[in-house]
Point group: C2
Chain length 317, copies 2
């Protein structure tokens, strides 16, 4: 059984790969909710939706967010009425936010909402929010501090990032399902998916007890680099690393996670970094990490599981 | 200047007729809000929207509610997620409810919301809610008391009506714009549009002071019968009249409004009732009242205004 920590697109792809090679009971995806926000009175959970839509086979692979075959009549009408249109909500996607908002208002936890939505869309794997509490990723930039979606969507990641904080994280407990998955007797590995380390993975590690728990967990913790050949496959990871004064490289990602990791997966293009990764005390694995189709997603998932098995065998040997 | 009290479809058609023959400054439509309700966390104002969409030239004339050329992707997605779909919200219509809900949550009155939405849709006439307070039309039926939309939409008006009450009406003040319009020095007539007397007009008359105000107002009060040839043009008016033990006839509508009225407009098919209407102390006007197109709407509006002028002249003579 694998616990995969995931953010948006890159994370969803590896979760999908794992879902292709594991049974539904063997996979729990724990998803970042630091990007969640309220918009037009609706609770929007972008990363949860991206993972859920991806596993449901309904993700819009062109945009990297939202649903395939989406329409925009609501947004057009909203624009006519002078409403806020900087955050695009598709006609079908809207139903997800509406259901979530209603269920939360009726007293359900975000975990319960996620389970119910997944069930409705036929997703059998467990997709759980990192926390049922409120965590808000805040970006300190050259133009002042911005809420995540203000920075990411409204400003298209243009402002220069100075630091990132996770408001509310100190008081937000990891979700029960997250903790249960980490304590599951069948657990074989924890995988940090190739999501943005600062925006997607770090919010989860910052939750009370999570980093400590992962540090002393008895199964391998493995990260897959979201940086390939000095570039991010998607999103602002490379730009943010540069702005934070770091080298834009897979090695830097490995350093960022540090002693949390037992294994680190690099793309072939970064094979030359394997030795330096090993010097950090991690087992490097060099393979194809760019998941351009379902087969490549499954292939990477198999490699990650193989590394986990090797590390577990090594530890027990 | 004319004040028109209107509910849904029939009311909206006469308001549209009046809008075609008067300047924008000469018409104030006061609209029933007893049908308003909260659905999926959204404040829905069916009658306000029907009047607004009609004057904006965007009404769906086939359904009698909602927008022309509407699409239903949101509802389809909501259905997949197991959400409530008995009340149909179109993709574009949804934007109206979303804007309204947001503005109300931000502290605006329903009157302010109506003005802003009308402005966005290019409607220049004043469309005002009967009240900025909460009034809920409740239908006592053979199956117990039902909230209006439960009765009207969810149950398709099937339960037998025993009585109707307007919860909250005693504590809801008429909107400022409603009172201002009634006190306007330019006021020439108050028109009760051919809307359902029990479901659309009575909620307005029940608001504190309104019936008294209309009874002693110095301009003619004129109603147009929504019952034509013993039938309702649209909606459950005839069924409800029957269930309430009344004759289903235009005369019965005239009796229902009673001494409030100075004039009453009947369809040609009901010409034989004119004498009985006159016996009630009202000036009858027999004309074509079925507003199947814009020209007929304008024609009826002109007739109503002519009757108002005649009544005013008679009173001052």
């Amino acid at each position: 059984m694998i616990v995969a920590l995931a953010g948006g697109v890159g994370g969803a792809k590896l979760v999908d790969g794992l879902a292709r090679v594991l049974s539904a009971q063997e996979l729990t995806a724990v998803v970042n909710t630091g990007d969640d926000f309220e918009h037009l009175g609706l609770r929007v959970s972008p990363d949860l939706d991206t993972v859920m839509y991806t596993l449901a086979g309904r993700a819009n692979t062109e945009t990297g967010w939202g649903l395939a075959g989406e329409t925009w009549r609501f947004m057009e009408a909203l624009e006519r009425l002078g409403g806020e249109t900087w955050f695009r909500l598709g006609d079908q996607d809207l139903a997800t936010h509406m259901c979530r908002t209603q269920m939360l208002a009726a007293g359900a936890t975000l975990s319960e909402v996620a389970a119910r939505l997944c069930g409705s869309l036929g997703v059998t794997q467990q997709i759980v929010p990192m926390s049922d509490g409120d965590v808000h990723t805040m970006i300190k930039t050259s133009e002042g501090e911005l809420a995540f979606q203000e920075y990411f969507v409204r400003r298209h990641c243009a402002p220069v990032v100075q630091s990132v904080r996770y408001a509310g994280a100190a008081d937000a407990l990891p979700s029960e399902a997250f903790l249960e998955a980490l304590g599951d007797a069948r657990l074989q590995a924890v995988v940090l998916c190739p999501s943005n380390p600062w925006l997607s993975i770090e919010p989860m590690l910052t939750l009370p007890g999570v980093r400590e728990r992962l540090r002393c967990i008895h199964v391998p913790v493995i990260a897959v680099s979201p940086i390939v050949g000095g570039q991010a496959i998607k999103g602002p990871a490379a730009k943010i690393m540069h702005e934070l004064g770091r080298d834009v490289s897979a090695l830097e990602v490995a350093k960022f996670y540090g002693d949390l990791l037992d294994g680190f997966v690099l793309d072939r293009i970064d094979a030359h970094l394997a030795v330096a990764v090993a010097d950090l005390g991690m087992e490097p694995l060099v393979t194809d990490t760019v998941m351009t189709d379902g087969e490549r997603r499954a292939h990477l998932a198999r490699d990650v599981i193989r590394l986990a098995t090797r590390l577990a065998d090594g530890a027990s040997a």
